[in-house]
Amino acid sequence: MTGNFNIGKSWSKLAWLCIAVLLSTCSLNVMGQVVDTSGPDRAYCVGTGNLYATTPGINNGKPVCQFAGNAWCDAHAFFTGNCTGSTSPHYAGYNTPMSALDIADATKTCQTRGGQVQNVHTPYGDVNLCVFPDGTSVDLRSLSRVVYSNGINGGMPDNGIYYMPDNGIYGTPYNGIYNTPYNGYDPMTGNGLYDANAWYYGAYAFLNSP
């Protein structure tokens, strides 16, 4: 084994709180690019019940504090009171898709179609399936009706806000916003293509989940 992954015992108690986030500060040390000096930021973030995360793709690689619902703030801005979860200035699109709301909605859709939700344990946690009466199954998350304001063919929301159709049918205006089916798949009718990238949302949801 090569490479130095040990970030020091004084940090060890806090370092592993990064578990459900996208990248730990440890990996930045691996790259030799960033020295973690954000102890108070991290302590305050974690101490207020949130998740502390650092990943190159968000906030220019600077630490963020991630809140329930997956909104986030720059960790230092949160510590200094210049940002709150509800006014997250940099709402990452890929952090939004799979919240508890999505899971609840997907479960409802599964049951509406006669399916049953089954938890399957894996070395990486649960994978939830919707198993239909004919024995076929899909990743539960592919059944979420939560769509994006501009979610055409995998597009991500430009404003970080997602919308759920009020009647479960895509293409109907909701709050004045015209929704588009995600990847053309309508989970209510089963028409269209099943989203083959459901694993991706499941994966990110797991990484970001409570």
Binding site: M1, T2, G3, F5, N6, I7, S12, K13, A15, W16, L17, C18, I19, A20, V21, L22, L23, S24, C26, S27, V30, G49, N50, L51, T55, P56, G57, A68, G93, Y94, P97, Q118, N119, V120, H121, T122, P123, Y124, G125, D126, V127, L129, V131, S137, D139, G154, M156, A196, N197, A198, W199, Y200, Y201, G202, A203, Y204, F206, L207, S209, P210
Partner: protein, 298 residues
Amino acid sequence: MKSKRILIMLIAIFVVSMVASAQEANIQQLKQTTENSAKNLTSYTYSRSAESMLIYSNNTLRKEYDVYKTTMGKVDLVNKKGWWGSNLTDEETGDVLTWEGYFINGSEYWKESMNWTSLNVTDTAQVLQAYNEIPGQVNLIKYSNMKIVGMEKMQGEDYYKITGSPIPSIYSGMTGLQLLAAYFPSPFALPDKLKNGTLDISNTSLMNNSRITLAAWISKNDSTLRRLDINSSLTVTPKILNISSPDFKIMSTINESTVYRNFGSPAKILLPKDAQNASTSRMIGANWRWALFGSIRP
């Protein structure tokens, strides 16, 4: 003479198809009885060992990260209690990270190193379900393409040994998680296509460059799941991911083995006194029992 040969061939085909059909019937029956037994559990204990290896390489670097994790657990479904404790060891430094989880009297507590955290539990049934992991493991078997490969004797008891691989919806879920976990400590940046959701895994060769195998031992006596091994390997390159990037290679392997014991025996689960002093109460957090390899380090 010729017709005799044809007759013999037909009989042989018939016998082979009958054997295959019987095998199929048996595995379906075994899955069913195992599922039933999982529904009727009262208490059990388990021990799990898992090792993970991540290798990163390109023209100029080679990094390897090896970790070993052990987990013990107790589940008492009658009294609605559960406990798990894990150690994660960095095999290079020898550093060990420990953490525990307790579910007692409708409350959940985590011990992170020496610090206790109490969690606000809103759905006790769901939490208990998370501690009671056998049904989920049995589901993994149920929704996998398995076959009986033989009988084995362990500690005087007979077990069916079954092996196989998960169905695509589970397979892709696991592979996706393994891929993301491999990127946690990676010196290579997460591809934009992965970040923005445009990576089309079905059109890449990622699935062809991964392998997940399962092996389970099921008691002949009472159909309980006694052991489950999951071995998973994955190789990632820009070509496999169908992305434009300077060349690199990530190899990830995980081998996990879980043994279940003490079915129906009293499970002693006591909350340590210092847990009562847990100062922090929070709604969210990570389930460290299922920590992604690579995402945390001692």
